[in-house]
């Protein structure tokens, strides 16, 4: 070959090598292996320590003496509740103490017959230990960098008032995915309580694509784990295009997927029992996902959530409801009501101007998976619920919207604990294409 020909050949090779790869459709699928409220932890270690988020540390045990004090409840009455609610009575463990306490905690209003979990405004605000730090994860939902928190990466204007209200709580505080309920909820999710899949697709390049699509939905498949409990990558999961399915347009820049436009995103609630499962809708939602070099996914989803729905779930679901929260989790439902209302910062009611939404963000991680469509319709089972829970949630909503006290409806003993048996057990499970049920469920303790 002549020198000129050699030079020409070399130049051609270099030119070909420098030409970018042609754009082609691409897909990335993930099974979510961790999911929880994005509550920033401002201490160095543990879950209880004082930190920049909560200078007094995590919320302590409730003082039931103080909680039960009302104008109509005498000290003798309080003692009558608390004495049998002590750990032991005459040397015998008092197994009924939690129920005795819960039954009394339910009534803390200005009159003894008012159920203050339904009518929390009938009692004064006992005060909430709120987050006072300046750092939070989330999104600038109101596009105002002057309000809100600063993100850990320095982004201003982060709106996450749910964190402000709940972030010092004993059940929620800790480093990412290490709080008490965070670890418990994720353990149950991986055990089969529910599964979330995310599929990101585009036409150009997964690192940079202006026309990407993000799909978020439930999967009926049980999440596959190895013996050590870690989710195994590369398994196949169907995405259920049921009511819980969301499809969004997004842009990807340097591997970071951002959904814009403010559509609603429907996600599972943070849950650890079958009967506190359900969905939460992020209104005017934002989504940010990182497609990591190790093929995993990390992300945030945020928006405004209905604060009354949030209170209702916390208070009236059968498992881990108000009674458990005010004993085991050191919460105060009345304080929570006032704090949620006070910190509600979005979705103003067009008639009253009252903010119906509170800003929130959830964090998640995902493991690489094949997310596929199903050739047959797939439904997701509705969560089991007691007869009483929806009733009481509706009563609370009506009471809090009108500030009119709603009297106790007739209640049978133990009604709150009733879970109706499925009429047909088969209907309550999700089926795969072979007609075999695949979904696990949990129940109250």
């Amino acid at each position: 070959m002549t020198k000129a020909a050699r030079t020409l050949a070399l130049a051609s090779v270099i030119a070909v090598a420098a030409t970018p790869a042609l754009a082609a459709p691409w897909v990335r699928g993930f099974i979510v292996d961790q999911y929880e409220p994005a509550f920033y932890y401002g201490a160095k270690a543990g879950t209880m320590e004082a930190g920049t988020d909560c200078p007094k540390g995590t919320t302590p045990d409730n003082d039931y003496n103080a909680l039960l004090k009302t104008k109509w409840r005498s000290d003798a009455e309080i003692a009558k509740v608390l004495k049998p609610a002590t750990l032991e009575v005459d040397g015998t463990f008092n197994s009924g103490r939690e129920f005795l306490l819960s039954a009394a905690l339910r009534y803390r209003g200005f009159r003894r017959d008012i159920d203050t979990w339904v009518n929390p405004f009938a009692a004064p605000d006992p005060g909430m230990q709120e987050v006072t730090g300046k750092i939070a994860e989330g999104f600038d939902l109101d596009n105002n960098p002057r309000t809100g928190f600063i993100s850990p990466t320095g982004r201003k204007g982060v709106d996450n008032n749910l964190y402000r209200v709940m972030g010092c709580g004993m059940a929620y505080r800790g480093k990412p995915f290490s709080s008490y309920l965070g670890t418990r909820a994720n353990d149950k999710m991986l055990e089969g309580l529910f599964g979330i899949v995310i599929r990101v697709s585009g036409t150009k390049d997964p690192m940079n694509d202006d026309n990407a699509v993000v799909e978020v939905g439930y999967t009926p498949e049980r999440i596959i784990k190895d013996p050590a409990g870690k989710v195994v990558p590369d398994y196949s999961y169907r995405i259920a295009k049921a009511a819980q399915y969301t499809k969004l347009n997004a842009r990807i820049k340097n591997g970071v997927v951002k959904m814009e436009g403010g559509a609603d995103i429907r996600m599972p609630v943070f849950s650890w029992f079958e009967n506190n499962r359900g969905e939460i809708t992020f209104h005017k939602a934002r989504l940010e996902l990182s497609l990591n070099p190790d093929t995993s996914l990390t992300g945030l989803v945020g928006g405004y959530i209905d604060w009354r729905q949030y209170y209702g779930r916390d208070t009236f679901d059968t498992s881990s409801s108000a009674g458990t929260r005010e004993t085991y989790y050191h919460e105060n439902q009345l304080a929570k009501y006032y704090a949620l209302k006070r910190n509600a910062d979005g979705l103003p009611d067009p008639k009253t101007g009252q903010n119906m939404g509170i800003s929130a963000a959830f964090r998640l991680t995902g493991v690489r998976a094949y997310v596929r469509d199903s050739s047959q319709a797939v439904t997701i089972n509705e969560p089991l619920s007691s007869n009483a829970a929806p009733t009481y949630r509706a009563l609370f909503r009506k009471a809090s919207m009108t500030a009119v006290i709603i009297p106790d409806p007739p209640r049978r003993q133990g009604e709150d604990d009733e879970i109706p048996a499925p009429k047909d057990k088969e209907q309550q499970t999700v089926r795969n294409e072979e007609g075999k049920s695949t979904n696990g469920r949990s129940s109250d303790p």
Partner: protein, 444 residues
């Protein structure tokens, strides 16, 4: 006519056939007056369970070493003297499959029945002790016994399936009365003879038998199933009575103590420390005197509420409320309760090992399955549920091992136990927990 200790005198009583066992005669002994001549029988192998709730603390119980000679960890320290007679099995998991993870119950049922339960506090089938009792429990006064150390009559994990739980004895006095009260004759005493009342009852049952057969032929399938279950109990009663008419062979070196005094029974740890040794000794005596060959001891319920006086929370509540100490990596108060649970198990192991029997001890001729409901109570996990086996089942089980289960199903232990007890079972468990893999490392 040659007689041996099993020979029966037969005759008629008021028109009914009656059989009467012989009292123990010197001619039944060998020349040394010890072992049973000609019809000498082996020392029976016994089975038992010990249940405690809310698991153990991984950081404090799990040895690093696997196999024999593993290091004895802080939470198992109370069992140190018996390390060579026990096996520790770690790392096995329960599967809920299509059923919910019923908190503080799925683990219990998975280990004791091989099946994930569909209802809280009910088993889908009979528990393993009943399966084994069905094979070895006939011929004793009681097919099996259940004991609730905390005094709660609801705390029994021995079941025929569904809601049919075997009720426990809930106090030392109650257990003593059952074992050594009315109806008991000390087999080591020379004046032992069959109870005439039992003879009459037995003969009455044999009359009923003809009517029973006739009834079964004339009822529908549903009633037949109910009657079967009922008459199974009757048949067991018959067998019990037959056993009561025969003097038990006792090889163990025991004597029946006088009845314990009344004592408080509750979930306070100091109380349990007094009650459990007494209950354990009675359980051991019951096994040693062949009143039964299957026992179930429950320390407390799965969501264990044992407590220390003065503390503000019992065990279960502590598992949820106590944070993990960032320096220690575990919950210190919660882990203490787990340690107490092992100390109580050590009392049972001690009581069995204290009884000399043949060339070993009662423990050597027993197999006790100690199990719990969860691997990590704070989260109600079904992974890495710890279990222990005490005793060598009369040489059928090798001991002194730490077996790392590596994520396999908990039913491997149940399968191993049944094979060790001589049951012809090749697989056990349902769905994800069906296994054909016993723990061969410990099967002799």
């Amino acid at each position: 006519m040659r007689f041996n200790r099993r020979s029966l005198l037969r005759g008629l009583s008021q028109g009914c056939a009656v059989s009467v066992a012989l009292p123990f005669l010197d001619c039944f002994l060998d020349g040394n007056g010890t072992a049973l001549a000609a019809t000498a029988e082996r020392i029976p192998t016994r089975f038992g369970t010990y249940f405690w709730g809310c698991g153990l603390t991984k950081e404090l119980y799990l040895p690093k070493a696997v196999g024999q000679g593993y290091e004895m960890t802080p939470q198992l320290k109370s069992l140190s003297a018996y390390q060579k007679k026990i096996n520790l099995i770690s790392g096995l998991r329960a599967f809920a499959d299509d059923n919910p993870n019923i908190q503080h119950w799925t683990g219990v049922a998975a280990i004791s029945t091989g099946m994930a339960p569909s209802k809280d506090r009910e088993f889908e089938t009979q528990t393993i002790d009943q399966t084994i009792a069905g094979a070895i429990g006939h011929g004793t006064r009681f097919k099996s016994l259940a004991v609730a150390c905390s005094g709660n009559k609801n705390e029994s994990y021995s079941s025929l399936g569904g809601p049919n739980t075997n009720p426990p004895d809930v106090s030392p006095v109650g257990l003593y009365t059952r074992l050594f009260g009315p109806g008991f004759q000390d087999p080591s005493k020379g004046d032992w003879k069959p109870d005439p009342k039992v003879l009459l009852e037995q003969s009455a049952l044999s009359v009923v038998d003809e009517d029973r057969k006739s009834l079964m032929q004339n009822v529908g399938a549903g009633d037949k199933a109910r009657l079967e279950q009922y008459f199974t109990s009757v048949r067991e009663l018959e067998q019990t009575m037959a056993a009561e008419l025969q003097r038990p062979d006792i090889v163990a070196q025991v004597s029946i103590p006088s009845a314990p005094g009344e004592m408080p029974v509750n979930k306070s740890v100091p109380t349990l420390r007094k009650v459990v040794p007494v209950m354990a000794k009675l359980v051991a005596l019951g096994l040693a005197t062949d009143q039964t060959r299957v026992v179930n001891v429950a320390l407390a319920e799965p969501a264990s509420t044992i407590f220390m006086p003065g503390d503000s929370k019992p065990f279960h509540q502590a598992t949820h409320e106590e944070p993990i100490d960032p320096a220690l990596g575990y919950q210190p108060v919660t882990s203490q309760f787990s340690t107490y649970s092992m100390e109580m198990f050590a009392e049972l192991v001690k009581a069995l090992d204290d009884i000399k029997e043949g060339d070993g001890t009662l423990l050597d001729h027993s197999l006790i399955l100690a199990y719990t409901d969860t691997g990590f109570a704070k989260l109600h996990t079904l992974e890495a549920i710890p279990m222990l086996l005490a005793g060598s089942a009369s040489g059928r089980v090798k001991t002194g091992f730490h077996i790392a289960g590596e994520g396999g199903p908990v039913t491997r232990v149940g399968l191993t136990v049944q094979q060790a007890m001589g049951l012809a079972v090749e697989s056990w468990g349902k769905a994800s927990m069906e296994t054909k893999k016993p723990i061969t490392e410990i099967l002799a």
